[in-house]
Amino acid sequence: MSNPNPPTIEEARVGGGNVNPVENKLTDRLSHILADLGKNGIFIALIAVVVLFAILTEGILLRPQNISNLVVQNGYILVLAIGMVMVIIAGHIDLSVGSVAAFVGACSGVFAVQWGLPWWLAVILSLAIGALVGVWQGFWIAYVGIPAFIVTLAGMLIFRGLALVVLGNANIGSFPAEYRALGNGFLTDVFGEFEIDPLTLGVGALAILALVVQQVRTRRGRQKYGQDVEPMAWFITKLVLVSVAIGFFAYSLASYKGIPITLIILAVLVLVYGIVMNRTVFGRHIYAIGGNRHAAELSGIKTRRVDFWLFVNMGVLAALAGLIFTARLNLAGPKAGDGFELEAISAAFIGGAAVQGGVGTIGGAIIGGLIIGVLNNGMSIMGIGIEWQQAVKGLVLLLAVAFDVYNKRRSGGN
């Protein structure tokens, strides 16, 4: 892999079978680490950004309150990023999510405030509206065959307009407390009041335990089937690093207000969608369609149906993002969701998704979203104006994708 001249197909073909076994072991170990660095490049970038701003803000970035804020402030973008990366993997794009979030937020205001429905019913109805929006857009994209760019560009205008219609040129405000908890609430003090919340620490410990068990099981499973696994030392180092990060994160939350409700929602979504994308037939079909639509069709994959459900899913997630945002502001307003689509798209691309489709991960999109979040937050703490924040974020997006393209070219991909 360290060969400066990428091998031709012919060489690679021949080289595969008969490599010197001694050399193999050493280079194998090295290439594992290199491949991992490449794969986790985005994770390392996040750590770098965090360290950079921790220094620049003289530690304010890593204060418990700020850590907690980071999650709550970016929750809705991360929710959108999950749906967006799926849409992008399938080779589409969705420009309408900001408008849909605003529209659903406005509807939820009507349900919860104006009609006075119970909060849970308002939430369910709002999510259903999001699904209907997805059905509408999915229909045009999957079954009429209009490019997603056009359909969702139209959707961006349509649903922004409808949001204004629903709001009737006014803000709707003062939501019930349970509703507000979606964006502002914390799970805390279940065991009484402590300086450091034991529940949060406990959940953090459980998360670490679950991660370790899952990683070890996966590794054992692979070994059982005779697959290559990474060297033990590297495996343990990685586990320890990630565990420390989770531990620090849990401790920070515990010393502030506990676990944000938004974080719980996010954690569930990441877990569920991570499994969907990696382990279910539906997820596999999304990757197959994005990689080569023709080949997927000729393999019996119902591409239209997959496209359709992808946009229904995106609609529901956009609705959820709208609810969280509205809950956080305690206000459904006409400007809500402005520019969300661009942040979500940026998150997906910074997280390693490919513009042509077929490539990307939920985890990558989340980390991409967090990088944007840390940039926003760090620069705000430093008192950098919104104008420079915009410019810096643009640059980061460009550089991240350029790095990715360079990386792929180096590793000999097409």
């Binding site: 012919e10 990757y287 023709h294 997927a296 393999s299 994959i301 991909g413």
Partner: protein, 509 residues
């Protein structure tokens, strides 16, 4: 000074793993119509690409002498500047631009201030159109005229470049009889004006009509050049086919069982031009353990037949009946076809067969993920195991199954495609050009795999434009021409000559 306008000497061109042209010589006399004949893949188009600079000087060996001058073309523009113009099989016209705009594309007539002079453009275009006998307004858009007329626009475009040597690559392949006649007459007419033409074709009757001499190419070698007076169909066919059919194919003793698949009156129309019949009442069957070949020239409707059968992946207004083990089945979607045990491995594996950015493992499982599903989740270790088994049994040369298929050689890519379909456990496999773009060694492996599948009692349909290959591996062959089955022969009775006759048999009119 010779009378030859063009002489190509000792042209050799190699692609990775394949020698496409080996020491080819070609002499074209000034003012003649010279035909080049050969089977698909013989090297005709490659030779013309060398001549026109598509493969620039330095990527091939040998000399090109044009008008008594050794030339070294770097690209198409270079060769066009000398008066060599090639018209490809797939026309290079922009459908949304007008006839005149297309004629002068990248050669625009400028007036004052460097701006395009549209009056002059249209005027010059109409003069050129008159020369090729096309009565159309030069401002008509290309997409609004038929293929035959588009072909004439291409020739007008060539004339605008003051062409001395016109190369036409299978110019009549997509034309009807009337348009073909007009085109051939035009070539003769241009000959009268001193324009030399090279025409690539395997339609023997039209070669006899227009050509002054014929050069036959086979397996990247020139076989001979025949003068007009000596041209006979038999001689050309014999040259095209050759005689060396030794041990290029593994032995295969058929154990033929019950009928697996029967297709009755299968008809399909062109997807856009829905009045055009592409597959015309095809009847065929395949039995267990049998390898059935479908032979046909380019454009005969082989792939179209297979894809329309496989979940209606091609065409419109499809009709006919399909029986599996005597029971009628529906194959209206690909999923249905797969469910009923039909598999189709495409002729174009990069565009239609593989997800090149994904690894071997996920490509093999792509059509059969349901099999790997347990409690709603894909069992990925099992997937790895299955893929690894295929890597071993199909001899896919890759260090492991996590290698992206885009990095494999053609032969190994084809083995991945075959693995994918074998894993879907079909009764009938349709293999479309299974050895296209694959080197000889890998071809033999693919043939062995095909034999193995037949021995397991599967029914195999092989579509191939290489006649020797088809006759070498099949038990029974069908000939397809203009969408119709024009003959069916047990392989023992089929000769390349008899097959070519059937494959070029035209519809009674």
């Amino acid at each position: 000074m010779t009378t030859d306008i063009l002489e190509m000497r000792g042209i050799t061109k190699t692609f990775p793993g394949v020698k496409a042209l080996a020491n080819v010589n070609l002499s074209v006399a000034r003012g003649e119509v010279h035909a080049i004949c050969g089977e698909n893949g013989a090297g005709k188009s490659t030779l013309m690409k060398v001549l026109s600079g598509v493969y620039p000087h330095g990527t091939y060996n040998g000399d090109i002498v044009f008008e008594n001058e050794t030339v070294e073309f770097k690209d198409l523009t270079d060769s066009e500047a000398k008066g060599i113009v090639i018209i490809h099989q797939e026309l290079a016209l922009s459908p949304y631009l007008s006839i005149a705009e297309n004629i002068f594309l990248n050669n625009e007539l400028r007036g004052r201030g460097g701006l395009i002079d549209w009056n002059k453009t249209n005027f010059e275009a109409s003069k050129l159109l008159a020369r090729v006998g096309l009565r159309e307004n030069p401002t008509t858009k290309i997409m609004d005229i038929g293929v035959g007329k588009q072909q004439l626009v291409e020739i007008a475009k060539a004339l605008s470049k003051e062409v001395k040597l016109l190369i036409l690559d299978e110019p009549t392949a997509a034309l009807n009889d009337e348009d073909s006649d007009h085109l051939l007459n035009l070539i003769l007419h241009l000959k009268g004006q001193g324009i030399t033409s090279i025409i690539i074709s395997h339609k023997l009757n039209e070669i006899k009509k227009v050509a002054d001499s014929v050069t036959v190419i086979r397996d990247g070698k020139t076989i001979e050049t025949i003068a007009k007076t000596d041209v006979t169909e038999d001689r050309i066919i014999k040259d095209m086919v050759g005689r060396d059919l030794e041990h290029r194919y593994p032995d295969h003793t058929p154990h033929i069982g019950e009928e697996l698949l029967r297709v009755e009156d299968w008809t399909a129309h062109h997807p856009q031009d829905t009045s055009r019949v592409v597959v015309d009442k095809v009847n065929l069957n395949v039995r267990a353990g049998e390898i059935v070949g479908i032979a046909g020239l380019m454009g005969a409707g082989r792939t179209e037949f297979a894809m329309s059968l496989f979940g209606q992946s091609y065409g419109s207004k499809i009709s006919g009946r399909v029986f599996l083990r005597g029971k009628e089945i529906r194959t209206r979607t690909v999923a249905e076809a797969i469910e009923h045990g039909i598999a189709y491995a495409t002729e174009d594996r990069k565009t239609y067969g593989l997800n090149l950015i994904e690894d071997i493992k996920r490509n093999i499982s792509m059509a059969s993920l349901k099999k790997l599903e347990k409690y709603g989740l894909v069992h990925d270790n099992e997937e790895y195991k299955v893929a690894n088994e295929y890597r071993t049994s199909m001899n896919i040369k890759a260090p492991n199954v996590l290698v992206k298929t885009g990095k494999l050689s053609g032969g190994n890519q084809q083995k991945v495609v075959l693995s994918k379909w074998i894993y879907s456990d079909p009764d009938v496999l349709i293999l479309d050009e299974p050895t296209r773009g694959i080197d000889v060694g890998a071809k033999y492996e693919i043939y062995s795999i095909i034999n193995r599948l037949a021995a397991q009692g599967k029914g195999i349909i092989v579509i191939s434009s290489e006649l020797p290959e088809l006759l070498g591996i099949s038990d029974r062959v069908y000939a397809l021409s203009e969408g119709r089955i024009t003959g069916e022969l047990p392989v023992a009775e089929a000769t390349p000559e008899s097959m070519l006759k059937l494959m070029t048999m035209e519809k009674p009119r």
